[in-house]
Symmetry: C2
Subunit: 356 residues, 2 copies
């Protein structure tokens, strides 16, 4: 039996302070060409080609980013941009999209995915989504994709897999024992050694009925507020009533019908400048270039360079550096310190400086 039509919901509300100075307040990570020649949002869009029709692809973003989304996705029907009055984490975002899709097509499957991940190859991704869609349609389960850890990451939530309940198209569908918040390094190492733990990639598949029921049960304020909008209330009035929780905490950790599908494709959330080494080709000296800048290197290795087309970055006698120029700002950061870029941006904010 064919599952009903799939709607894709691209969550494009991030602010991406870890990619400063390329990412700024008015140009978050999803609009950057940090990996490949297209902005990350456009890459996510083209990843859906052959899986979800453009008219069934929705982008949820904040009101101030609507023009950016239209610029990055000229083929997206304008009515398919859902503008949140303000960013309130993924729980309200998922609820908003669920209501909209229910209005358009009550018997449908939703694929919810972030705008700023790298996934390849596309075909493997489609296969996993189709298997998940079939499972979600038949069983009404809420499906989360799990990534097999390759290192003891402390920046992701983890999912402890339960038993396999069935196979779909050769892919194992697991129960979920528990969700684990971002662990400390020791726990992360334990998860990696023990096995059976997966990274929560923030990619979900569910039937519209199932997510609406879950919103009603576990995020009742969202259900109540969005029902008022259906009766004519102003979204910008009611949206702030909804608790700003993640869909993981608000719904998935509570619901009984959650299943996990381990994925077999390459995935990266490209969580910092350092992660470009995972997703970009390296030169003979392990240097990575991104964003279009030319590189000229004299005795430089293991560096990550980002800059605009028409620019040049020159490195002499250095290694293990992140070097970024964008607009009016230049960043030079040791690769071990990539996580501290966010802290630096917070310091700029605190000190009331520009360059944000």
């Amino acid at each position: 039996m064919q599952p009903p039509e799939i709607y894709a919901i691209i969550m494009a509300g991030g602010s991406g302070t870890r990619f400063w100075p390329a990412s700024r307040r008015d140009r978050p990570k999803q609009y950057l060409k940090i990996s490949g020649g297209l902005p990350m949002l456009a890459q996510t869009w083209s990843r859906l080609e052959g899986l979800v029709a453009p008219e069934r692809t929705l982008v949820v973003t904040t009101a101030d980013q609507v023009a950016e989304v239209q610029g990055a996705l000229p083929e997206l029907p304008p009515l398919n941009i859902l503008a949140e009055p303000e960013a309130r984490n993924t729980g309200p975002c998922v609820a908003l999209a669920a209501f909209e899709v229910a209005h358009r097509s009550p018997d449908s499957i939703q694929l919810v995915l972030p705008a700023d991940h790298v996934i390849r190859p596309k075909e493997a991704f489609h296969r996993t989504v189709n298997a998940a869609a079939s499972e979600a349609n038949l069983r009404g389960s809420l499906i989360v994709f799990g990534i097999k850890p390759t290192w003891p990451a402390t920046g992701f939530g983890y999912i402890e897999a339960g038993e396999v309940v069935r196979e779909v198209d050769g892919m194992a569908v697991h129960r979920v024992k528990r969700f684990v918040e971002k662990p400390d390094p020791v726990r992360a190492q334990t998860f990696l050694s023990e096995g059976g733990f997966y990274w929560n990639a923030g990619i979900f598949v569910w039937h519209t009925d199932a997510i609406l029921r879950a919103v009603q049960e576990f995020l009742p304020q969202a259900h109540a507020s969005l029902s008022k909008v259906k009766k004519g209330a102003d979204l910008s009035e009611v949206y702030r009533e909804i608790p700003a929780k993640s869909v993981d905490v608000a719904i998935l950790e509570q619901a009984k019908n959650v299943r996990m599908l381990p994925v077999d494709y390459f995935w990266s959330d490209v969580g910092s400048w350092d992660a470009l080494s995972e997703v970009q080709e390296k030169d003979a000296n392990e240097n990575v270039t991104s964003g279009g800048t030319e590189l000229i290197a004299d005795d430089a290795r293991d560096c990550i360079v980002h800059g605009d087309p028409g620019e040049i970055t020159a490195l002499i006698g250095v290694s293990d550096l992140i070097v970024v120029h964008s607009g009016n700002a230049t960043l030079v950061c040791h690769r071990d310190r990539a996580q501290d870029v966010k802290r630096l941006v917070e310091r700029l904010q605190r000190e009331g400086r520009t360059f944000l």
Copy 2:
């Protein structure tokens, strides 16, 4: 007895590839604000205030830089720019200026100095120039300023001092035993340990008669060619006939009446990005900022940063780096490799790339 009026001849013909990417083909080092708030040429100009009147200050530059000079020195009378048809080292430049000054005022003293050095305090410089002027006027000698070495530099020519022939205003006037071309590190160390050796700073004082006689004797082609110009020949036709030698090699190493005056002020030729640490104030972590960029540093030390006003440079977890952004180019270079910037620019030229 008061010496005759002093003419200043600022040599502003350098190309400054060591300061790429701030220095470019159309904006050599002397037009950069790499130390203090003014371009180096304007600093040199203001150093003459109270010593040489603007109408007696000449700037020798290449024809393509005339507009740059006027921009940097709005108070310079336009007729005081001597445009060389092409850069041919300092020998022809000195001869050209000597002919021009002789035409304006045959009984005069000339102070010849590069456009792109840092010297302070100004008062000490004036004292030395006045002493040299008095000596040059009374004895007809060609005076070169000597800098007492503070480290075994291999980038300068050296002067071995001979006996003191007299004191002028408390300053010793030495004979010159010999000029030494840029030494290798071992010789440079010997010069430093033995004492009696001075750096040739390329700053000269002489009477117009004396330099004209020296040009006629030791650079006769210059004398012949420039005499033709006096009779109506086109400078751009005859300038290329003059051998492109330095004034040191062509004249000072040959002449018998050369004297050296050791100077007692701070001097730097600011020969590379690394030299900014000599001439700019440091912050608490020994970082130096230049050019007007803001700096935000998290655990960064001993770095040299240059960028334009209105820009910011952010450093996280790095040390001993040169970080420069200018226009369409970014440079990150280990401080030990500052001399290799020139080589990198030559490589860009060779590869026919832009950014020059």
